[in-house]
């Protein structure tokens, strides 16, 4: 509705993109000729090579490719913890290269939810504190955010473990805490790098079910994986080879 009005979009650094540009879905993340080059002495490694692509709102993507094809590099750039060496990356229309360090941090906290292969929970904080950690760095956390944290813990099946430390949890449980943490600020894009890589197939299945549910709720999800079985769970697959797009597949048919 707001897209139809002629008024200026609401203030803030995050300007919504022109709706016409991405067809019928809103573009969440847009890459324009993005390159990421590592200078290794005399030689340059092109981890990403002139890559252009758009991820639409509500889509569920799997990024696949052989080892060293640039999957993690892509995800880090999408997650704003790394910057492209060339090209432009936009999150909901906002060019990342225009942001300073603080604004970038704000972007990570508000718009992006990161899930790591090795969970990356803070060992001295309990489950609830870990889930609420990204809230710590928000300027004006919404009211009742603690309740929301508890609900998320229940949602991932850890409602009775709120006071436990990460070391007292299994790998699957830790990853579920990490997922709840990535959801706490209701991000526009959820990024998972080999989220099931450390887990057995049964536990991995639980995590994938969670992703399915999140997708059904309309969240935009992007997972990086090696395993074809995991890749098949996503709606679409983006195949990378040597830092460039090899193929784009649609699993839904």
């Amino acid at each position: 509705m707001s897209a139809l009005s002629d008024e200026e979009p609401p203030g803030g650094v995050f300007v919504h993109p022109d709706p016409g540009k991405a067809g019928d879905t809103q573009v969440v993340a847009q890459l324009e000729n993005v390159s990421r080059v590592y200078s290794m002495g005399a030689e340059d490694v092109h981890a990403l090579d002139d890559l252009s692509f758009s991820f639409g709102s509500g889509e569920y993507w799997a990024v696949m490719g052989s080892s060293g094809s640039g999957k993690s590099t892509l995800l880090n750039i999408l997650g704003c913890i790394d910057r492209p060496t060339a090209g432009e990356y936009r999150v909901r229309g906002q060019a990342v290269s225009d942001l300073d360090d603080d604004q970038l941090s704000e972007m990570r906290g508000k718009e992006l939810g990161f899930i790591f292969q090795s969970y990356n929970l803070i060992p001295q904080l309990n489950v609830l504190e870990n889930i609420l950690m990204p809230v710590l760095y928000q300027e004006n956390p919404e009211e009742g955010i603690e309740e929301r944290g508890k609900l998320l813990a229940e949602r991932v099946g850890l409602g009775d473990r709120l006071m436990h430390r990460p070391t007292e949890l299994s790998g699957g449980q830790q990853q579920r805490v990490a997922i709840a943490r990535s959801l706490i600020n209701d991000p526009a894009l959820i990024l998972a790098d080999e989220a099931t890589g450390n887990l057995d197939s049964k536990t991995a299945e639980e995590i994938l079910k969670l992703f399915d549910e999140l997708h059904a709720e309309g969240k935009t999800i992007l997972i990086v994986t090696h395993e074809p079985k995991v890749g098949e769970r996503a709606d679409r697959i983006l195949r990378l080879k040597d830092g460039a797009i090899e193929a784009v597949e649609d699993n839904r048919r």
Partner: protein, 417 residues
């Protein structure tokens, strides 16, 4: 508040290391406070002793010349020291002098009934009390009339009065000094105890007895005979001490120099000394100043060591927790959040060390005072200063590690194992 809790919780994760770091600060702070307390106590004590002599006074004192010069003298009676002539010259010719008090000490025994003791028996001018600023406990001091009438009256110091009259008031009683009877007209407060006076009532009683100068001169003469084992020791001293009370403090050095000059001219040997409390006071203050500088340097070094300890620990912590920093940054932490977190940790570390150090620093002087018979004074500045410096050290030495943590590249930090 959250940041503080977080900092504390991560410190608790490394209890031993945090404890050892805190220990460094603790000893730095407590030793600074204790040293300052001892120095201040010693200096105040020294100044008090000097003030008792009267800071606007110049004191001339007879001193027995060295033995080897004495031995070849013919007469059996050794004669030395200040003379009536010296006294007259000072009293009559010096300008700007308020008062001149002459003192003759006689080595007589003091007795009352079966009690006897050997205090300093001092024959003094009546203005002695005023010039030295001593305070009466009971009765009065010697008066000008006593002096002129060569009255047989005396004033006892508190210690003597208590020893001779343990059960009744001393005033009005008669005592025997040597072979003469004297009536007690007053009791005087003792001097503020110098260090700790070891009193041993049976043999020697400290303290003083005062009689009018002219009375003393006429009754006891100027020849002092001390009976010792194996013979007699006779000496002749006309006056033991002359106290010159100067009207204006600024004239004290002038009077002191004039006295020195006068005495060098009129005495063949150096059988006198000139004591100028004001000079001593200035010297004591200078000593204290140097002492303070030395102490401050020691304190500074120990706190610096403590600070480097903190920095070392924090740098290790930053390296160890690089991954945590990466996680926090990836989840939206800004640089200042990370800086704050690490600063809170160092400030908590050094603050705890500081508080514990202040407590210990307040206890040590008490122990020193009780065990070492030393006076200590803890000024308010010392703990405040020591605590302030310890926290400042924490902040300054914690800043670099915190800054390093915050400027780390998030991807690099996350990759760290």
């Amino acid at each position: 508040m959250r940041a503080v809790r977080l900092g504390v919780s991560s410190l608790l994760l490394h209890k031993l290391r945090s404890f050892l770091t805190t220990l460094g600060v603790l000893f730095g702070v407590s030793s600074v406070i204790a040293m300052l307390a001892i120095a201040e106590g010693a200096s105040v004590e020294a100044q008090e002793q000097i003030r008792q002599l009267g800071s606007s006074n110049v004191i001339l004192r007879s001193v027995k010349p060295p033995e080897d010069k004495v031995s070849n003298q013919e007469s059996r009676v050794l004669s030395y020291g200040l003379t009536h002539e010296d006294h007259a010259r000072v009293a009559e010719t010096y300008p700007g002098v308020k008062d001149v008090v002459a003192i003759l000490e006689v080595p007589e025994e003091v007795r009352s009934g079966s009690f006897s003791c050997r205090p300093r028996v001092m024959c003094v001018d009546p203005s002695y009390r005023e010039v030295t600023g001593r305070i009466m406990m009971e009765g009065r001091f010697l008066s000008a009339r006593d002096g002129q009438a060569t009255a047989s009256v005396c004033v006892l110091g508190y210690e003597v009065a208590r020893y001779l009259f343990p059960f009744k008031a001393a005033i009005g009683e008669r005592i025997k000094i040597g072979a003469e009877y004297f009536q007690i007209v007053g009791v005087m407060y003792p001097r503020v105890p110098i260090g700790s006076i070891k009193r041993d009532p049976g043999t020697e009683v400290g303290g003083e007895v005062f009689v009018p100068l002219r009375t003393g001169q006429s009754l006891f003469g100027e020849r002092q005979v001390k009976i010792r084992s194996g013979g007699m020791d006779a000496q002749e001293v006309q006056l033991h001490e002359i106290i010159i009370a100067v009207e204006l403090d600024q004239n004290v050095p002038m009077i002191a120099n004039a006295s020195r000059l006068m005495l060098t001219q009129s005495h063949r040997e150096k059988d006198y000394e000139v004591i100028v409390p004001l000079e001593l006071l200035l010297r004591a203050e200078e000593t204290k100043r140097i002492f303070s500088i030395v102490l401050a340097s020691i304190a500074g070094i120990s706190l610096l060591v403590g600070g480097i300890g903190i920095m070392n620990v924090m740098l290790a912590t930053v390296t160890e927790r690089t991954r945590e920093i990466g996680i926090r940054r990836a989840l939206g932490a800004k640089r200042h959040h990370i800086v704050t977190q690490f600063l809170v940790e160092t400030v908590v570390l050094s603050g705890c060390g500081g508080v514990a150090g202040v407590v210990l620093g307040l206890i040590i002087p008490q122990i020193v005072e009780a065990a070492g018979d030393m006076r200590t004074i803890v000024t308010i500045e010392a703990p405040v200063l020591a605590f302030g410096i310890s926290v400042a050290t924490g902040v300054i030495f914690g800043l670099y590690p915190a800054w390093r943590a915050a400027t780390m590249d998030p991807v690099e930090a996350l990759r760290h194992e």
